[in-house]
C-alpha cells in the first residue's frame, strides 16, 4: 500500500517532498498531492525529528502538515489558521537564528532558544487539533485562500527574523514583496522552507530554485536580506540550506555530508556555505546558474580556509583518516602507532606478510596427495552444524604474530570434534564447550583419535579431503 510504503521510507518522503517543491507546486498543489500522504508526513517527520531532534525537520513537518490539514476540502477549525501562521513564522524565526541568540520579531514571539520544545509541542499537537498553547496571539483571520496563504506565508517566513539585525530586510519593504506575482510568492515560499540537513537532494533543489528565483527577482535589497540572514552575511558560492545557522553548527554538519558516498571531487565543485568572507554576489549568481544534482555540502569551519580546493581536500583527508582508523583495528599491534606514514608501513607489511603466508600454505598444501576414492557424499551428510560451530568459535583463532608462521598453540580440535560431532547434538553451546575443552589438547592425541575413527592411522594427508569435507562442510 502506498501509505505503508511511504511510512517506512523516509527517503521516499523526502524525495517526494523535494520533487513537489521543485516542481514549483503551490501550496495547494502540495495539499492535493500530499493529501494522501498526510499521515505519512505527519508520523514520519515526527519520528525523524524525534530521533534527530532537529528543529527544522519538525518545523518543516508542521509546515507540510498544516497546509495538508488546511485543504479546503477538509473542515478546518479556527485554531488551525492561527497555528499555521505561527508555525510558519516560527519556522522562519528558527531558521533565522539557529544559534538562539536573536530576538523575535514583533509578530512572533516564539522562544527561539528552545527548538526542541518546539519539536515536542508540534508533535503533541498536530495529531489532534492544532491548538498550540502559545503566549502570543496571532491576529485571527479566516483561513485565506491558497494564493493568499502562500503570499502571507512567504512574507512572514521571509521576514520572520530579527529586524534589528537585518535592517535591510525591513527597509526592503514587505509590501514590495507582497506586490509581486504569484509565481514569485510560490518561489519564495519554496525558498523559505529550509530543510537543513534533512535531505541533501531536496535542499539542493531548494537551493537551485531559490537561486533562480533570487536571480530573477528584482528586489536586490531582498536578496541581500536573504543572504544577510546567514551569520556574517555576505556572498557565498552556494547558498546555505538554513540561512540562519550559526557557525557553531558547521563543524557538526561537516561530518554528516562526509558520510555520503559522493566523491571529494564533486564536493569540491559543489560546496556551499563559505560564509566567512567574499561579498561576491555576482560570482554567487553566476555559480548559482548551474545547480548540480548531488554534492556534498561542506561548510568551512571557523578559522579555516574556505577555498574550495582546501575544503575538498579536507573532506578527502577526513575520509581517509576514517578508513585508517578502521584499518588500525584490523591490523594487529597498531593501536599505539600514531601517524599516517608509520601506519601505512604497518599496513603494507601486514598485507605482504599475509600474502606470503598464503603462498607458503599453498605450497604446503600442494605437497599433499589426497586419495579421493572414498565416498564423499556419505561424509557430506554428516553434521554440518558442528563444523559451523567450529568456525564460529572465533576467539580461538586469534591474531598471532603473523610475521612468522608460528604455530605456538596446539592446533585443531577439528578432528576431535569430528568424532564428537557424531555423538553431539547440534547445539552450538555444546560445540563451543567441546572445542574449548579440546583446544589445549595435544595435537597428536587428538589426531589419533580422529584417525582411529577412520580406520587406522593414515599418513601424510591420505586422510584426504574427506575429513575436511566432513568437518568444514557447510
Amino acid at each position: 500500500m502506498e501509505k505503508d510504503g511511504f511510512f517506512n521510507n523516509p527517503q521516499a518522503w523526502n524525495s517526494i517532498f523535494g520533487m513537489e517543491l521543485e516542481m514549483g507546486s503551490q501550496v495547494s498543489e502540495m495539499n492535493c498531492s500530499s493529501e494522501q500522504l498526510q499521515n505519512c508526513f505527519l508520523n514520519q517527520n515526527w519520528n525523524n525529528s524525534m530521533d534527530q531532534t532537529d528543529p527544522f525537520e519538525s518545523a518543516l513537518s508542521s509546515i507540510v502538515s498544516s497546509p495538508v490539514n488546511s485543504h479546503p476540502g477538509i473542515p478546518i477549525p479556527a485554531g488551525e489558521n492561527v497555528a499555521l501562521k505561527e508555525l510558519i513564522g516560527r519556522l522562519g524565526s528558527i531558521c533565522d537564528s539557529g544559534d538562539n541568540n536573536s530576538t523575535n520579531t514583533s509578530c512572533y514571539n516564539t522562544p527561539l532558544n528552545s527548538p526542541p520544545k518546539l519539536n515536542l509541542s508540534i508533535m503533541d499537537q498536530i495529531p489532534g487539533n492544532l491548538s498550540i498553547p502559545r503566549n502570543h496571539q496571532l491576529p485571527p483571520a479566516p483561513f485565506p485562500a491558497d494564493p493568499g496563504f502562500v503570499e502571507r506565508a512567504a512574507r512572514f517566513s521571509c521576514f520572520g527574523m530579527n529586524e534589528s539585525e537585518f535592517p535591510n530586510m525591513v527597509e526592503s519593504g514587505k509590501l514590495s514583496r507582497v506586490s509581486s506575482k504569484q509565481s514569485f510568492k510560490t518561489a519564495e515560499f519554496r525558498n523559505q522552507i529550509p530543510v537543513p540537513g534533512s535531505d541533501k537532494k531536496f535542499s539542493r533543489e531548494l537551493d537551485s530554485s531559490m537561486e533562480e528565483s533570487s536571480v530573477s527577482e528584482q528586489i536586490t535589497n531582498g536578496e541581500t536580506g536573504i543572504k544577510a540572514q546567514n551569520s556574517n552575511s555576505n556572498g557565498r558560492k552556494r547558498k546555505a540550506i538554513p540561512k540562519g545557522k550559526g557557525k557553531e553548527t558547521q563543524s557538526s554538519k561537516v561530518m554528516e555530508p562526509e558520510k555520503e558516498e559522493s566523491d571529494a571531487k564533486r564536493s569540491k565543485s559543489g560546496e556551499e556555505g563559505n560564509e566567512n568572507q567574499n561579498q561576491k554576489q555576482t560570482k554567487e549568481n553566476a555559480k548559482l546558474a548551474e545547480p548540480p544534482k548531488d554534492y556534498i555540502h561542506v561548510r568551512a569551519r571557523r578559522g579555516q580556509a574556505t577555498d574550495s580546493h582546501s575544503l575538498a581536500e579536507r573532506v578527502r583527508r577526513e575520509k581517509i583518516s576514517e578508513r585508517m582508523k578502521f584499518l588500525q583495528d584490523l591490523v594487529p599491534g597498531c593501536n599505539k602507532v600514531t601517524g599516517k606514514a608509520v601506519m601505512l608501513d604497518e599496513i603494507i607489511n601486514y598485507v605482504q606478510s599475509l600474502q606470503r603466508q598464503v603462498e607458503f600454505l599453498s605450497m604446503k598444501l600442494s605437497t599433499i596427495n589426497p586419495r579421493t576414492d572414498m565416498n564423499m557424499e556419505a561424509l557430506l551428510s554428516k553434521d554440518v552444524s558442528f563444523s559451523q560451530s567450529f568456525f564460529t568459535f572465533d576467539p580461538s583463532l586469534n591474531f598471532q604474530p603473523f610475521y612468522g608462521l608460528v604455530h605456538d598453540r596446539p592446533q585443531n580440535p577439528l578432528t576431535s570434534m569430528m568424532q564428537r560431532g557424531l555423538n553431539m547434538k547440534s547445539s552450538q553451546a555444546d560445540g563451543f564447550g567441546e572445542a574449548s575443552a579440546f583446544w589445549e589438547n595435544d595435537l597428536q592425541s587428538v589426531v589419533q583419535m580422529g584417525f582411529g575413527q577412520n580406520q587406522g592411522p593414515i599418513f601424510h594427508g591420505e586422510l584426504t579431503f574427506l575429513t575436511s569435507r566432513k568437518s568444514i562442510n557447510i
Binding site: L344, V351, L354, H407, N412, G461, I472
Partner: protein, 164 residues
C-alpha cells in the same frame, strides 16, 4: 563495514571462512583430479602456484563482485584462462578505467605522506591501480579481512593433512 552480524552476512568472518573452505576444497579436489604433467615451463603450472591461485580465486568468489579487489582477481583469472585456451592469440587490451582520476593538483597535501607507500599498497591490493586513495583504503581493509580468513582456513587444512 556494516554493523550487521547475521550469520550469512559477508562481514561475519565465520561465514567467510565457511564459504571459502567450501570452495577451496572443491578447487583442490579438482586440482588433484586433473593431474596435468608439468610439461610446460610456465610458472603457473606449478602445483603450488595453482593452489595459490585456487585459494585466491576461491576467496574472491566468496566476496563476489561486491568489492573491487575481488572483481580484479576474478577478472585476472578469467583473462588467464582465456589466454591459456587461446594460447598466444592476440588478446585485446582492456583498458582499466580509473575509478577516479588522480587529482591533478599535487600541490595540496597528499593524504598519504609518502606517495611510494600508496603505490606499494596499490601493487599489493589487487585492482588497486585504478582506485583513488579513499577507495583504496576501504578495499585494503576488506582485503585484509578476507586474507586473514583465508590464511586461517588454510592453516587449519594444512594442520589437518600434515599432522606432524
Amino acid at each position: 563495514m556494516s554493523p550487521s552480524q547475521q550469520p550469512t552476512s559477508l562481514n561475519n568472518p565465520a561465514y567467510l571462512k565457511n564459504q571459502f573452505a567450501h570452495r577451496f576444497i572443491r578447487a583442490l579436489n579438482n586440482l588433484h583430479h586433473t593431474k596435468t604433467p608439468p610439461h610446460h615451463n610456465y610458472k603457473m603450472y606449478n602445483r603450488s602456484t595453482r593452489v595459490k591461485i585456487a585459494a585466491n580465486t576461491a576467496m574472491a568468489s566468496v566476496v563476489g563482485s561486491r568489492r573491487a579487489w575481488s572483481r580484479a582477481v576474478l577478472w585476472k583469472i578469467r583473462k588467464l584462462r582465456s589466454r591459456k585456451r587461446v594460447n598466444c592469440h592476440h588478446q585485446e587490451k582492456v583498458s582499466l578505467k580509473r575509478r577516479n582520476p588522480k587529482p591533478k593538483t599535487e600541490d595540496f597535501n597528499n593524504p598519504f605522506g609518502d606517495s611510494s607507500q600508496e603505490s606499494k599498497l596499490r601493487e599489493l591490493v589487487p585492482g588497486g591501480e585504478t582506485l583513488d586513495a579513499v577507495c583504496l583504503m576501504g578495499e585494503t581493509a576488506n582485503y585484509i579481512k578476507c586474507l586473514v580468513a583465508q590464511v586461517e582456513v588454510m592453516k587449519t587444512l594444512v594442520d589437518l593433512y600434515n599432522p606432524t
